[in-house]
């Protein structure tokens, strides 16, 4: 009986790991477009930017200290790379009942306080973040135009020091953009960083 239970548990764990493994994009996958509500009241899609060479999609939010630590760097990234064809699009994937600080109205407040130059969108039905495979905020997906498609070129962190921008040694995301601009594959193409879980009910 105990063996049966262990086997059941084992199969359950296997299934869970596989299910977990199967979801979300890997580098090279085609990324889906979306139409999500921006803090300015308009819906934004990547199709609205026909001239973009790619996108810096950042799953973000209001409440997470790791996001707050990166907000100024997100603004700088947009100001530097939007003119070069890679605008930032921030998406809040959190459920506002599970995390009231991440409600749409408080997103508007935060966007105004920080004067975000990029769209700050709400994944209101939480349908986009699982397709991308975002697991935390902040979680970056760099997309590169490939004909009609947008392909994932880099997944992970903005750089190697969330705490002090001045002590960053490796700018993972900037290096990745520069690599794809040279026609090379980013290396590393995937990085990891501590962040806040995505809040669901």
């Amino acid at each position: 009986m105990k063996k049966m239970k262990s086997l059941g548990l084992f199969l359950g764990v296997m299934f869970f790991s596989l299910a977990n493994f199967a979801q979300g994009y890997e580098v090279g996958d085609i990324a889906t477009d979306f139409s999500l509500l921006n803090v300015d009241g308009n819906y934004v899609s990547m199709a609205d930017y026909p001239d973009a060479s790619g996108f810096i999609v950042i799953f973000s939010c209001n409440h997470c200290p790791y996001v707050v630590a990166y907000e100024d760097r997100m603004i700088d990234l947009h100001n530097e790379f939007a003119p070069k064809g890679y605008p930032v699009i921030a998406i809040n994937p959190n459920d506002s009942i599970a995390q009231p600080q991440d409600s749409y109205s408080l997103m508007q407040v935060r966007a105004q306080e920080k004067n975000f130059p990029f769209p700050y969108l709400l994944d209101a039905d939480q349908s986009i973040y699982p397709q991308y495979g975002a697991t935390r905020t902040p979680h970056v997906f760099l997309l590169k135009r490939d004909g009609e498609d947008l392909r994932v070129a880099y997944i992970g962190a903005i750089d190697d020091n969330y705490r002090e921008a001045s002590q960053v040694e490796e700018r993972f995301l900037v290096n990745a953009i520069e690599a794809i601009e040279r026609g090379e594959d980013p290396d590393p193409a995937v990085t990891r960083a501590i962040g806040c879980t995505i809040k669901t009910q």
Partner: protein, 175 residues
């Protein structure tokens, strides 16, 4: 007069002991902050890593958390209960805080006191998490709460929130 002198002596002794204690921990695990009961030791990842690979007959439950992380805060009492229930059966619960080291006094210690946390608390001060996350587990994407449970014959990593029964179900067969 005599009592006053005694008091001063006792006080001096306490200060000296405290200083020795602080020096000891400074050498072995970085800076230590002393709360009312439970101290917080600050580690770089390299200093911390041996906590993930102790070769003893104990079972280690290593929980990564932060005071600002709501699901972490929710599960802490369950880990504390595991600590309290199984501390005599060689279960070692270690809380690894990812709070800012500058907030130990202002946030971490008051939080620990409020929740009456008795298990050991370390603070991992290493902002280049891309370097050390894979050394904790190859499966970890980086969100917290996250937990490593291991002994000599078993090792598992969980990037999720636990309730008490779920934790017990993992731990009991390993005792």
């Amino acid at each position: 007069m005599f009592y006053t002198m005694m008091k001063i002596r006792v006080r001096l002794f306490q200060v000296a002991t405290a200083l020795l204690f602080v020096t000891f921990f400074s050498i072995h695990g970085g800076v230590m902050a002393q709360g009312d009961k439970n101290p917080v030791t600050v580690y770089s990842f390299d200093e911390f890593e041996y906590w993930l690979h102790k070769d003893t007959d104990s079972l280690y439950v290593i929980n990564f958390w932060a005071t600002w992380c709501a699901p972490c805060v929710k599960e802490i009492p369950h880990f504390e209960k595991i600590y309290d229930t199984y501390k005599d059966q060689k279960v070692k619960v270690v809380f690894v805080s990812l709070d800012h080291p500058g907030q130990i006094e202002s946030r971490v210690l008051p939080f620990m006191e409020r929740l009456d946390m008795q298990a050991r608390v370390l603070l991992l001060d290493d902002p280049n998490s891309n370097r050390w996350i894979p050394k904790v587990s190859d499966k970890w994407t980086g969100s917290i709460p996250a937990t490593v449970i291991y002994n000599r014959d078993f090792r598992a990593f969980y990037e999720r929130e636990f309730n008490y029964e779920e934790l017990e179900e993992i731990i009991l067969p390993l005792l």
